[in-house]
């Protein structure tokens, strides 16, 4: 829908059910509380994009609304606008009709099972997880997700091979030191541990620096989610956690082979032949 001069995703919801559908907190103002017309709530990122906040007037599809408040979900919903569902039904010409049902499973482990049952019972209905909504709604986002996944896989593989090669070269240069360690009684396992600890330490430092740089850079990057609407990337704790886990895994994987190789060093050969 058109919000002021931009386009935005609009979610029509039954206000009374909102808490069971969405985890959110209000940054300013209040959430819509009834099916009255003329009010809407803005997601934090959308609010920042259009420069409107609680109490401000906005045009939704040419109709003036008042912003009741700005909410934060730390999800794609922060790019959207929430309006009462009856208002949404009127706007899309489906009075008393339903285009989407949001269901919340009490046990998250059952979600896939429920989705499967819906697809079986209603083959013409599309059922998907709420996290997949942006890519279902926006083909651009779907492409970006796919590209990002591919880039992540390629970068991860490249990182493992690159760091492994770097580790091997680095350890070869310090072959003499490891030969001394073995000559002075370090066991095969102790050498492996030394290399892995060192690698994890460097990996931790690299992860922290990388996350810091990513955080700073992503503040200036936006993604065109639908036509004319570019949204900023939301960084949530889980993003950092996954990135950190991936970085540690890369560091660890890239150090296993060099560690095993250097642990086999034969001091007598290094000391005699260099």
């Amino acid at each position: 829908m058109t919000l002021d001069s931009d386009e935005a995703l609009a979610a029509g919801v039954v206000p009374a059910q909102l808490h069971s559908l969405l985890n959110y907190s209000m940054i300013t103002g209040v959430m819509i509380t009834s099916n009255q017309t003329g009010i809407l709530a803005l997601g934090k990122t959308l609010s920042a994009t259009i420069g409107k906040g609680a109490g401000d007037p906005v045009q939704l599809n040419g109709v003036i609304y008042s912003v009741s408040g700005v909410y934060l979900t730390n999800s794609w919903m922060d790019y959207s606008v929430i309006i009462p569902h009856v208002v949404a039904q009127q706007m899309i010409g489906m009075v008393n009709g339903t285009s989407m049902i949001v269901a919340t499973a009490q046990d998250s482990r059952n979600v896939d099972n429920v989705i499967g049952q819906i697809r079986t019972l209603m083959p013409t209905v599309e059922a998907f997880r709420s996290s997949e909504t942006p890519s279902k709604v926006s083909p651009i986002f779907a492409s970006l997700e796919s590209i990002a996944s591919d880039i992540t896989a390629i970068v991860t593989l490249g990182a493992v091979l690159g760091i492994m090669n770097s580790n091997l070269n680095n350890l070869r240069e310090r072959m003499r030191a490891f030969a001394i360690f073995k000559a002075t009684g370090a066991t095969y396992n102790q050498i492996i541990k030394l290399v892995l600890y060192e690698s994890l330490l460097l990996g931790t430092l690299g992860t922290l620096i990388g996350l810091g740089i990513s955080y700073a850079v992503l503040q200036f990057i936006s993604i065109p989610i639908v036509q004319n609407v570019s949204v900023a990337i939301i960084l949530v704790p889980s993003t950092f956690l996954y990135a950190a886990l991936l970085a540690f895994s890369v560091s660890f994987l890239a150090s296993i082979y060099p560690a095993l190789k250097i642990a086999r060093v034969r001091p007598q050969e290094v000391f005699r032949f260099g």
């Binding site: 003499r176 030191a177 001394i180 000559a183 002075t184 009684g185 370090a186 066991t187 095969y188």
Partner: protein
Amino acid sequence: MAEEPVLRTDELNKTYWNGPEKTVALDGINLEIRKGELLAVYGPSGSGKTTLLFLLGGFDKPTSGRILLDGIEISNMDEYRLSRIRRSNVGFVFQNYNLVEDLSVQENVSLTMMFEGKTEKEMKERTAELLDKVGLVGKERHRPSQLSAGEQQRVAIARALANRPRLVLMDEPTGNLDQDNSRAIMQLVTNIIRADGVTFIIATHNLEIVQETPSRLFLKAGQIATDLISHS
């Protein structure tokens, strides 16, 4: 009853193969050395001195024959047990010192104790004691590159003694030192033998050291040959 020798070898052989080419590095070496003894192993280059030391130190395995350290055969031990032997029972001093350049004197001396799992306190105390013994008090934080050749060799000796080994093997310990430093190192070795009863085997080209050592072994083409030097 005679004391059990610290080290004994029976018919020790070491052969290297380079494709079809066979090189006999050691051939039928029998030797016995007791606590507090100093043995000089000498001979021309390629006679097998270093090979013998590497076998006795558990760096390599003989092709045949036995090595008994304190009555325990080490010639058939696996790599893990040999590492423990190198750490606890045998100290090794190399011609070019083999100190870790990135570590301080104190850290170099502590290396073997660290691998042994000693506490920080134990390592600190033992290191202080050893640096006092080798005359390097005040140089704990120096890097090897900041020390003279003689001082680096003293650090190597301190490191070899860290875990109170019964046997110390020295490969050309004076090879890179001038005459004064060589004498000082040998005096230090003599003092350690007297004070702690440690057994030393020294592979050397230095005839001055050989002449002053009552127990010596002349190696020629991997075999024990007749001692060419008359006792002074």
